[in-house]
């Protein structure tokens, strides 16, 4: 079973140490971790460091037979103008570093992922013809077909409507549990974090502020300190904790 732990991890962006001192408890297989924090807090930078795309101090402990190759990072959505169909763009994510030959197993996996994300109907559309939300779903599919054990998703739901947000987040939570993955999701919607994450990691100004269960971490004090808002946390009709914003903190 895979496990992930960050030990005093930092990340250089150019020559600046943009993120520093991130130490987490061990994340276990099946867990979904929400990474929250204000804009430009260092969430993407931390993800890139964990994925091995940026250098920095500290160590990322990955307990997996595949080592750091078990990690797959899904960057924030960017429009691509490549003349490729959705299907081709997912296939190439699957086949990176492999031969030209496309096997039956590759195509079956892609079909399954497209079906699961509800985008089989746009499989043969060109990338340039997709809406922002569709692009985001394609991006998720590109990450999933790499069959990662640790998944770092940078704002995967920012362009999705509410229905799709709930659908994607619950799908990811279920996949994490079913396949024993660790899924880290950078997300701005704190209520979605409360609803879907087993753990929450708060990052602000490039430093980790807290990491633990969502009830421990998402508190009125943290919201005032990190987000500078006055808010209450109350139970919704389904007994999930919910953040209700009263206004900007004085």
């Amino acid at each position: 079973m895979v496990a992930l732990q960050l030990d005093d991890v930092g990340a250089y962006y150019g020559k600046t140490l943009a993120v520093a001192g991130v130490s987490t408890p061990q994340f276990e297989a099946g867990e979904t971790v929400a990474v929250i924090g204000p804009n430009a807090a260092g969430k993407s930078t931390l993800f890139k460091r964990v994925a091995g795309l940026l250098r920095g101090p500290g160590s990322v402990h990955v307990d997996s037979a595949r080592g750091t190759k078990a990690i797959s990072y899904m960057p924030q959505d960017t429009a691509a103008n490549a003349v490729l169909t959705v299907y081709e763009s997912i296939l190439l994510a699957r086949k990176q570093g492999q031969s030209w030959r496309v096997g039956h197993a590759d195509l079956t996996l892609i079909d399954d992922v497209l079906e699961a994300l509800g985008i089989a109907g746009i499989a043969f559309r060109d990338l340039g013809a997709l809406s922002g939300g569709q692009r985001q779903l394609v991006s998720i599919a590109q990450t999933l077909v790499r069959e990662p054990e640790i998944l770092l998703m940078d704002e995967p739901t920012s362009a999705l409507d509410l229905h799709r947000q709930v659908e994607v987040l619950s799908f990811m939570q279920a996949e994490a549990r079913r396949k024993g993955m660790i899924v880290l999701i950078a997300i701005h919607d704190l209520n979605q974090a409360l609803r879907f994450a087993d753990k929450v990691l708060v990052i602000a100004d490039g430093r980790m502020r807290a990491c633990g269960s969502s009830a421990e971490v998402i508190t009125v004090e943290m919201l005032r300190e990190v987000y500078r808002i006055d808010a209450r946390i109350e139970k919704c009709s389904r007994a999930y904790d919910h953040v209700i914003v009263d206004g900007k903190a004085a």
Partner: protein
Amino acid sequence: MASVDVADIAAVAEDGGRGRYRALTRRKLLILVLMAGALCLSLAIDLAWGPARYGLDQVVLALLDPAAVSDQVRTVVWDIRMPVAVMAIVVGAALSVAGAQMQTILANPLASPFTLGISAAASFGAALAIVTSVPLLPVAAGLIVPINAFVMALIATLFIHFVSQLRGVSVQTVVLLGIALVFTFNALLAFLQYLASEQALSAVVFWTMGSLTKATWPKIWVTLAVLLIALPLFARNAWALTAIRLGEDKAASMGVNVRYIRLETMLIVSLLAAVPVSFAGTIGFVGLVGPHIARMIVGEDQRFFLPASVLAGALLLSVTSIVSKSILPGVVFPIGIITALVGVPFFFSLILSNRRRSW
């Protein structure tokens, strides 16, 4: 592919996405085979046409069994027309692939050996040799023009590459820089032309127009060798190069070492662009348009895009070679002049009928 044929629909019903994918793959392979067939036909016509016109049957006979045709036919086909016709194909292929990979790694539809100043640099190098006889490398006098052109083209390509690697330099900046190089080298060329003797001036002008008439087998072998080294290297990186078209971050997230692939590709491209230009002069249109034609026909999966670029460039220049000797009887126009005239109408019609799949 906008239209879905009956076979596709049947495949989808039976097999879901993978059936349709397989059908589209088969269609792309068929397109490549058709392009290769068209290229063979174009080569045969190129060999048959000229001041003396032969039938295609005679050309095929001369190719398959040279002893069966008259000395005259054999000499014209094999010694006079064959080097030019084959040079058109290898130069077209090399320039088109160079343009394709420049467009891929610089993420810019305007990138090509011509628009980034590489052809202009080569022209300046050649003019330097013709006008001043100054060699940029210590080589035999007979090679000074192509070697000077090659050295300048290589310098321009590497300059573009290393500037593009600087932090904070966007791909738009790189293209602007390339355009600045075009102007710089054109100005330097004009300067040399102004100083040149009448004889040297006409040689420079002829060189800059681009011509295949001075094709020789050694030039063909060198260009072909570069092409044959480059293609397997690109093919090995096919998935990675395709991923780079999704954006640097996305490619890196898929495990592609973007920096390394860019460097390797640009070094190969510099050879691919410099060698044909140094032998054939400025042939502008192929490197830009060959890849666009390939992209519109088969998309940007490099497993198909790469061979399609080779074939599109080769076909474009081969057809141009035929046209260049068909306009006025007995006159072979420099191919650099004709390329755009032949390619533009075709390219326009392709863009207008295929707007969604152009860049």
